[in-house]
Amino acid sequence: MLTLHNVNSFYGRSQALHDLSFEAPDGQIVAILGRNGVGKTTLLRTIMGLTDRSEGRIDLGGQDIGVLPTFARARAGIAYVPQGRMIIPDFTIRDNILMGGFAAGGARHIPEIVPELFPYLMDNLDRPGGVLSGGQQQQLAIARALACKPKILLMDEPTEGIQPNIVQQIEDSIIRLNRELGLTILLVEQNVDFAKRAAASFAMVENGTVVASGAIGTLTDDLVSRHMAI
């Protein structure tokens, strides 16, 4: 279980999260929803320790990971699939995936589920990551996160700006990772239909804090239009 208690987070002097509290029960997909610029990415970056500074408690299975440096949080079992993917263009696909292995400890290897989910990557392991299409790079970023052997996966708009034929594949793989591997996933998502299909619960973010949360069944059209309509 990942729990945030009254978390504040800062970029330089400007505060991006305000007294944010929320929890992600084990084995669930939690959809993080909200308009552009409300702090969804910042929430994930704060959990990962990638903002300039944060306050409050971030609890993973009883341990306060909020005081740990980023690499230690990764080793504690949190993996990050960032917005914009951030794969390394001149590393091979293999090296991009194996990069995640530094969080897993021991010999680094490609996780068993990757060939099943993303056969294209496995067939092109020695090509540079930069030649992949946006959708394939997203798959690569997911494969890299899986190589971290995570307990929790943080995914930031995994289908944003991706060609429609791959969107379906990525959505299916997210659901499989949760249902088959039992991964807890924090899923930042603009597509409410997919969020409803995949997630068990949700947290609605506005102005850097959680303004509504609960089981996904309680995500009403009213809530969506109040906090997400532009």
């Binding site: 990962m48 320790g49 990638l50 440096p69 980023t70 690499f71 990764a74 080793r75 993996a79 990050y80 960032p82 951030m86 390394i88 263009p89 001149d90 590393f91 090296d95 194996l98 990069m99 995640g100 292995g101 530094f102 969080a103 897993a104 400890g105 680094r108 890299r144 971290c148």
Partner: protein
């Protein structure tokens, strides 16, 4: 002509060692270390002092200078650079301060001159490192005069370049360093201990500077200012080669070193420097990121 190229090649070698250290520390940490030249100087003094007090010859001085410079580099990283992470200008000024302190430590014989104590081998004057005579005596081979000391420099540099290549491209620590160079945040999010790896990288680059100092001491006089003179050339090599690119650094050191060597034989040192600067400016205008560079930073 061959001998000219050869002399150019040995200068190039020292330049390459200096630039390799600069390039990997800048690449991995975004730190412009103005004290890098002083680490070269410390390496040279390590050779001089270990020769006087421990009876070390150049072969023993090389590993000792590597260790000394690496430990000093680690100290600079801990005390100064780590506290100024991400503040490039502050780091530049602070390491410049470190450079001045190091020069003064040598000039003032670790401060002992204040107590009227002299330490042989230190002070503001010039020092010499002894090189074994079998490395100094030129001999003829197949009609060509071979300078054994210059050959030695070249061989040491080749070995260290290969070692660096091996570390960077064939070891786990190398993968971590290259990942940090490209995206430090993502590297950390993948479980890489960026601070620890960066500190080790910094120590290694500093150690290479120390070795460059020993090699330089064999054909230049050793003095407190020596590092400041050579490090500018090191920066030029890095800028031309492209930050963090091993191949770029090697080719760029070769190019600039040879241009310098050839022009100074044909004309003189001053024109040679002018030509080198002209070439550097030309290349930067043509390729602002250097000859070889992954797009980042």
């Amino acid at each position: 002509m061959f001998e000219t190229l050869f002399i150019g090649l040995s200068l190039t070698s020292v330049l390459l060692l200096i630039a390799l250290g600069l390039s990997i520390t800048y690449g991995a940490m975004g730190v412009i270390n103005m004290a890098h030249g002083e680490l070269v100087m410390i390496g040279a003094y390590t050779a001089v002092l270990s020769g006087i007090y421990l009876g070390f010859n150049i072969f023993a001085a090389i590993p000792l200078a590597f260790l000394t410079a690496a430990l000093l580099g680690l100290l600079i990283e801990r005390v100064v650079i780590r506290r100024l992470y991400g503040r490039i200008i502050d780091t530049l000024l602070a390491t410049w301060g470190v450079a001045i302190i190091l020069q003064q430590l040598i000039r003032l014989e670790f401060g002992m001159t204040f107590f009227g104590i002299r330490i042989q081998g230190l002070g503001p004057g010039l020092q010499q490192m002894r090189v074994p005579s079998y490395l100094m005596q030129p001999y003829e081979f197949a009609g060509i005069m071979i300078q054994p000391y210059r050959t030695f420099i070249i061989v040491v540099t080749i070995l260290l370049t290969l070692l660096t290549w091996f570390l960077m491209y064939r070891t786990s620590i190398g993968v971590q360093i290259r990942a940090i160079m490209r995206n430090p945040q993502m590297a950390a999010a993948c479980g890489i201990d960026v601070r620890r790896v960066s500190a080790m990288t910094f120590a290694y680059g500093s150690g290479l500077a120390g070795i460059a100092g020993v090699l330089l001491a064999g054909f230049r006089t050793v003095m407190p200012e020596m590092g400041a003179n050579v490090v500018v050339d090191g920066f030029l090599v890095v800028v031309v080669g492209g930050v963090g690119s091993l191949l770029g650094t090697v080719l760029s050191a070769g190019l600039l070193g040879q241009i310098n060597g050839i022009v100074s034989v044909l004309y003189n040192d001053i024109i040679a420097r002018a030509v080198v600067f002209a070439v550097v400016i030309g290349i930067i205008l043509w390729r602002p990121n250097g000859l070889f560079s992954f797009r980042s930073r």
